[in-house]
Symmetry: C3
Subunit: 313 residues, 3 copies
Amino acid sequence: MKNSLFRKDIVTVESLTTEDVELIFEKTREMERLVKEKGGDDRLKGKIMAALFYEPSTRTFSSFIAAMQKLGGGIIPLNGMKNTSVEKGESFKHTIQVFSRYADCLVVRHPEPGMPAMAAGYVDMPVINAGDGINEHPTQALFDTYTIHKHFAGLDNLKVALVGDLKNGRTVHSLSQVLAKMGKNLFFHFVSPAVLKMPEEIKKIIKSSGTNFSETDNLSSVISESDVIYMTRVQKERFTDITEYERLKSFYMLEKKMLNNAKKRVIIMHPLPIAAGEISNDLDTDLRSVYLKEQLSNGLYLRMALLDLILRR
Amino acid sequence: MKNSLFRKDIVTVESLTTEDVELIFEKTREMERLVKEKGGDDRLKGKIMAALFYEPSTRTFSSFIAAMQKLGGGIIPLNGMKNTSVEKGESFKHTIQVFSRYADCLVVRHPEPGMPAMAAGYVDMPVINAGDGINEHPTQALFDTYTIHKHFAGLDNLKVALVGDLKNGRTVHSLSQVLAKMGKNLFFHFVSPAVLKMPEEIKKIIKSSGTNFSETDNLSSVISESDVIYMTRVQKERFTDITEYERLKSFYMLEKKMLNNAKKRVIIMHPLPIAAGEISNDLDTDLRSVYLKEQLSNGLYLRMALLDLILRR
Amino acid sequence: MKNSLFRKDIVTVESLTTEDVELIFEKTREMERLVKEKGGDDRLKGKIMAALFYEPSTRTFSSFIAAMQKLGGGIIPLNGMKNTSVEKGESFKHTIQVFSRYADCLVVRHPEPGMPAMAAGYVDMPVINAGDGINEHPTQALFDTYTIHKHFAGLDNLKVALVGDLKNGRTVHSLSQVLAKMGKNLFFHFVSPAVLKMPEEIKKIIKSSGTNFSETDNLSSVISESDVIYMTRVQKERFTDITEYERLKSFYMLEKKMLNNAKKRVIIMHPLPIAAGEISNDLDTDLRSVYLKEQLSNGLYLRMALLDLILRR
């Protein structure tokens, strides 16, 4: 397959074609085999990935730097870069341009929507969006989609429940778009409290791709007919009113007994961390749960795949 | 020699057999030759070590990440991870499980005793204890023992003075156990202020291995008959009463002139840092001092050896 | 060419001979070719560089760790090490000696002049000065000189304007010495406010090398006859009186229109970051500006060159 992603940015899921996503999935399978057979190799020897995280992260950050090193590449690991007003605007531009001279690709996380895309515009070098505020988290969306695709050997005709903070959760914004793009006759249950509903813009994109959805605040009502139950945490850092956060954080709590009428092949997903008991502990070891298992491993494989694709012709 | 440590945890010294320790020492000698002849190699290419330090460290942390990279492996270097009450219990478990999906082994330091062992129970992957509060510091104990073993071409019949904070010093807890296990007719002088004596549990283990010891608060009285004088700092971070710390921190101060009657082949050791002048500066360059020299180099070689053993069949 | 720099320290520019600098430039050209053709290689496999930055840095730090990894070496990346009074003196010595046992070379930045040179005296291992307070920044000086040398195919007969905080700017202290040493019939315009003039010691060194200079506080007056305009920021962190800083920070602001009468081949340089508009944004993309382009890339190549020279015979 021709590598259409060589030197390309991965900043929005919208910009990826279905062929791009298929290419990424194919390469992800190759990476899984590589890791299981040899641990890794040195195909990215001499290449440097700068991880510029303006919002601290443990999981995503570690996953990216592990992925790069498993392919023999080097890292500039900057977790928790300062984001003062002085550094915004022109100065952010300079910082990005500086790193484009030291590294071969940039992985940018930023609390403000659009900054990774802006970064991509500043430099002649591939930029990966590792999460930009409430906007997007394309790599998470890609490996979540990959996880579902692998489990069900495809995406067609699935019913996917996205549960929790659908307003501020960048993960579900990106995920719903990728699923809608890739799956035929896929259906969403958007499950959230009224004040945390999926934004209109996202719903418009979903609809325009021909995918149907329902909206409800009742989790129990959708469990029995869902193939995927994707739980999310309420995003504390997006609230200005802390009492409002306290009221909403435990709005949904998925427990084992609630799955009595669930489909046999249902899978439980979560982007982690589980912040306020939105999935009860007894589900951690349940065979239907993938959030501490394949979902994470697939994240590593998929990020290896992306780095390989954007850095090697 | 068969590699009995492949995929094994190194969380307590108690769990290591004498054969395990001999295997580690043999591999450590191999690593020393490798470093001196070639600097390192890439036998751990594609493997990732996650260094999860819940208690900040400079020396141990740096030693581990250098060791891993000298063998061609990659690192997830997390020094000073947060240890809030929220992160304890289930959430610590999740964190450990997450990293087990990104890395091939975990090196865990934690201010609370038992947490690395707990981590090892959560995952199907080798875990190394890099120090857990006042409890253990097995890798330090191993390379300290290696250092003594190498200097005296064995451990039998040695007299070892352990000096300072024997109550809170995890290093001496682990070291005394390894020495007692490995040396025949070895003898300890436990030298400490009354309130900082070696804990009863440790003394019981020592005794049960057939090793004898004396206890005293008088350093001078044991110098002339000791083969090894192992100084330690008083552990400020373990005190709740700071005035008590101030009173005890300089209880022992080893000076060159105190060694006039020492044995010819005596060696002076210290796990570093020297915090309150417990060894005077004039001893730094003394030929009998190994704490800024072989003791550290052996730490690097031994950690390389451990990583090689647990990660390669 | 014989490698005269093998295992040598790079702590002051004064200690480098013209042959040393020529060797560095030759190796830098080799590194540029290597990066452009293959990205990097693994000639420093098994070697470790400890980056001990007692003063936090983003650019220099990242440039060094990228350089080391592009040649296959490993890193101990310690950015923002603590510099408490306790850690000074003997304890700084111990820290340096400890790292000399884990690493194959040390890169030291420190807010106090002379500390990297002191570090070099403590250990039998190459030490690179990555900036010591207001004193020196030899690697920056070297790649700045390289950048000028490359642009003009030599350094002879050039007129170089150094502009801004010439009192506290370690970069210009080092740069002016290297240029004076390497160029025949080179001339400096030292352009600064009266209170931020080039120190007498530096001027003495420049003079003794047979290089002439003028001093002025008027930037406009020197533009038309300069081949290089090297702008610098006013060093906020060196001021005790903040109002004095505020008065001086924007003393010079280079704008495109000021370059109307400039020489055709003039280049605009800056060590970054641009802190207070001392170069206007419209110059960022100007073809005469090299500060966000070659100047940075050359920094990477030159640091690769230095690491290769000091670590391989």
